[in-house]
Symmetry: C2
Subunit: 104 residues, 2 copies
DNA sequence: CTTTCATTTCAAGTTACGTTGAAATAATAT
DNA sequence: ATATTATTTCAACGTAACTTGAAATGAAAG
């Protein structure tokens, strides 16, 4: 991961609707949620939710799988972890002040 | 910290020039760097660096202090840590997969 | 095969962000 | 006071992101 990729991933997180999407998917657990359920969970129109989901999906934070008529989305913790690790290790050189801050 | 504030902070990190600013300030240590030194470090014009610094400053990731003719900037690890903690604890409910990912 | 349901794509308008160079401010030295 | 250095602010432009509603796609049921 380089600065440019990390910047793009931070961009995918720079929207409160999308943060709520992640939160809803985390709460939902391994089964994930269908796109329509997500739209309802964050109080957005289907097309708006779809737009945010495609942004998150392109960033790799979520993945979709078709299940009958629905597209079921799941969160990818590895991808979020990779970004946090970049910020902590590459960007901040694993500085102790940040490690302790982050509860490590 | 709520979703809206966190989203704004992620927005401040969603630019590779600004990530390089943070990196340069981390490397510089407690003494920080003058705005002009930062501009040179990231290969940007003074006005462009100033623009990015004001974005980072507004987000609270850096702080400035005048020293003679120069404005000396320092990184705020607490602020970065607060954002990481939000992502880990609030947004992802302290999920074990993410904790381990992040080296805790 | 037609209808229905779930979701995405598209086009249009609005808003926000990034870049540039010139002008303005702030502090210091002569 | 004036000049010099460091930095920011401003205006203007181009580009990217967001929102909305309507149309299009994909899958399944009757």
């Amino acid at each position: 991961m380089n600065e440019q990729e990390a910047a793009a991933l931070f961009g995918a997180l720079s929207n409160d609707d999308r943060l709520r999407v992640i939160r809803a998917l985390v709460r939902a657990g391994p089964d994930g949620l269908a796109a329509g359920e997500i739209a309802e969970a964050i109080g957005a129109s289907p097309s708006r939710a779809s737009f945010h989901l495609s942004t998150l999906s392109e960033a790799g934070f979520v993945h979709a799988e078709r299940q009958a008529r629905s597209l079921r989305y799941r969160v990818d913790f590895d991808r979020i972890g990779a970004l946090m690790r970049f910020l902590l290790e590459e960007c901040c050189a694993g500085h102790p002040d940040l490690r302790s801050c982050c509860g490590s």
